[in-house]
């Protein structure tokens, strides 16, 4: 257990000191500043636009951070053969995987908290510039959406861990993770097309089977996207939050465990 904690803290420190993270933060801060200027292009729903741009900035920076820094932190050990130093220590390979994952999670939580707090500034400014009586914006759902962005990034971190345990080059796990992200963000929409049963369009049983397979196997990342709700101040039911949390917990546990299992059986040349 101590091994996991110290490995997690090493991973976190290595991540937070990464120059790329600094660059991503600078980009996010510039985007927040730009948000204030861009909202002047809109007529009434200015708070909604500010919230939409701020949350998009966080989601995008978070994605860059997890995908580039995350793959770097995990796959680098195998890529550069530094893993031999780790596996010669009294720490099991499963513990190594869990430690890396928790370190990444900590990095995500700290970064999203920082960006989340800063992101409220453009939204506050937008609220001051124009009073819109038809707006029902609420901070509660705004911060719920931020939590969901963090959850989604942690799930993607799990995916990175999984691919890194299988492949031996960080570039391949990067490509595979991006693929999972794109599939995970669209599989619900594609399944929706299938369910709509458009007139005059016949879908072959094979295509239909593939779509269903992809829908159930790949993570449904759309479930963690509450930007529309947060920007417009719509409420989200407790049931939705609870079930999505349960889904997240089980999916992430499965993918990290799968990574640990593969790692246990892996032969290092």
């Amino acid at each position: 257990m101590n091994g996991i904690i110290s490995l997690a803290s090493i991973t976190y420190k290595e991540g937070i000191r990464n120059r790329a993270l600094f660059g991503i933060f600078i980009m996010a801060l510039l985007a927040f500043a730009l948000t204030v200027i861009l909202t002047s292009l809109f007529m009434r729903d200015i708070v909604r636009v500010a919230a939409s741009l701020s949350l998009t900035t966080i989601a995008f920076s978070g994605l860059l951070m997890v995908i580039f820094i995350g793959t770097n932190l995990v796959a680098k050990d195998i890529d550069k053969r530094t893993i031999y130093m780790v596996i010669s220590r009294p720490i099991s390979r499963a513990e190594y995987i869990v430690g890396k994952f928790l370190g990444l999670c900590l990095l995500i939580i700290v970064s999203i908290m920082f960006l989340g707090i800063v992101s409220s500034i453009p939204v506050l400014i937008a609220g001051q510039t124009y009073h819109n009586p038809q707006s029902i914006f609420s901070w509660g759902i705004y911060f719920t959406a931020l939590v969901f962005i963090a959850l989604k990034l942690m799930l993607i971190a799990g995916v990175i861990i999984f691919w890194s345990s299988i492949t031996s080059t960080s570039f391949i796990s990067l490509i595979l993770t991006i693929s999972v992200y794109i599939i995970g963000s669209t599989n619900e929409v594609v399944k929706g097309f299938l369910d709509m049963k458009m007139e005059g369009v016949t879908i072959s049983p094979l295509t239909s089977a593939i779509i269903k397979f992809v829908y159930y196997i790949f993570p449904n990342l759309s479930a963690f996207d509450l930007k529309v709700q947060a920007a417009n101040g719509l409420s989200v039911s407790v049931g939705y939050i609870a079930w999505t949390l349960a889904y997240w917990l089980i999916y992430t546990a499965i993918i990290v465990s799968a990574g640990a299992l593969v790692m246990e059986r892996r032969e290092f040349p």
Partner: protein, 285 residues
């Protein structure tokens, strides 16, 4: 140094050669909503922001003059707003913008109404959408009962103006059209915080009040002379109207064959108007 000079030399020609290309791309492609939804990944709200900003900038770029606008411009704007509201059906601006540009002057009331009805379903807390719809039905489509029904829907929503049920009752009783339109627009104006849009409402109100004055003069003429006035100048000659009011939109008021008051501007600015034209600053409104 030579390279820098070369850059400075090439850049103006390069920029000039881009103009026709940029012109052709100004409106930009609109993909079908399902495709946009798929491609937007998790960035649906910002895509909606972008599409709406593109539409409103394009609209603002082509200043609003009759003749400059072609049907394809409206089709493009309409499709753009449809995709925007598909990505984020709760976004307020596309509905209000669509209602503003498709009604007066454009005459695409049905397009405006499709958007408003879509917005009404998503934005269940927004009383202004059914209110706008009610006005369109009453004023443009001459469906007074349908308009009154929508006003009652608006009246039930939070924050709705308290006078709405009264206005609906007046519509049900088929009172004067112009007077009701003035009542409607006063509510539009009262609930508008955007100073620029408020000025537009005030100009329109001013025009409608002048039309109402002429309409009243026509009724008095009919009562007095037992016939319709030959033209608008007959009202002045008979001493009922001191002078023919000026159309704040730059057109000329005239009387149709049935005695109804019309204007050559069709209540759309014939030239960029300033607030002085309508004299609305004089009354310190």
């Amino acid at each position: 140094m030579i390279l820098m000079a070369g850059y400075a030399l090439v850049f103006p020609s390069f920029e000039k050669s881009r103009y026709p290309v940029k012109e052709a791309q100004a409106r930009g492609l609109i993909l079908p909503p399902p495709v946009v939804k798929l491609l937007a990944l998790e960035f649906k709200t910002i895509t909606a922001d972008f599409l709406f900003a593109r539409a409103s900038q394009y609209y603002g770029g082509k200043s609003f003059r009759p003749g400059v606008w072609t049907k394809s411009d409206y089709v493009w704007l309409y499709n753009n707003l449809l995709v925007t509201t598909e990505l984020d059906p709760y976004f307020q601006d596309p509905y209000y913008f669509g209602n503003a540009i498709f009604t007066w002057g454009a005459g695409a009331i049905n397009d405006a109404d499709v958007l408003l009805e879509k917005g009404m379903i998503a934005r269940t807390w927004d009383w202004q959408l059914p209110f706008f719809l009610g006005f369109n039905k009453f004023y443009f489509l001459h469906d007074t009962k349908g308009g009154a029904d929508d006003l009652l829907i608006a009246a039930k929503r939070p924050g709705a103006w308290v006078g709405l049920p009264m206005l609906a009752a007046r519509l049900y009783s088929n009172a004067g059209r112009t007077e009701n339109a003035i009542d409607f627009l006063e509510i539009f104006s009262r609930n508008e915080n955007n100073a620029k849009i408020k000025v537009n409402y005030e100009i329109r109100l001013d025009a409608l009040r002048r039309i109402l004055d002429i309409e009243k003069a026509v009724s008095r003429y009919k009562l007095k002379m037992k016939k319709l006035p030959k033209d608008i100048h007959a009202l002045v000659k008979s001493g009922i109207l001191a002078e023919i009011p000026k159309d704040p939109y730059g057109g000329q008021f005239y009387l149709d064959k049935d005695g109804s008051v019309k204007t050559t501007s069709k209540l759309v600015p014939l030239r960029p108007i300033t607030t002085n034209d309508s004299g609305i600053n004089a009354g310190n409104r």
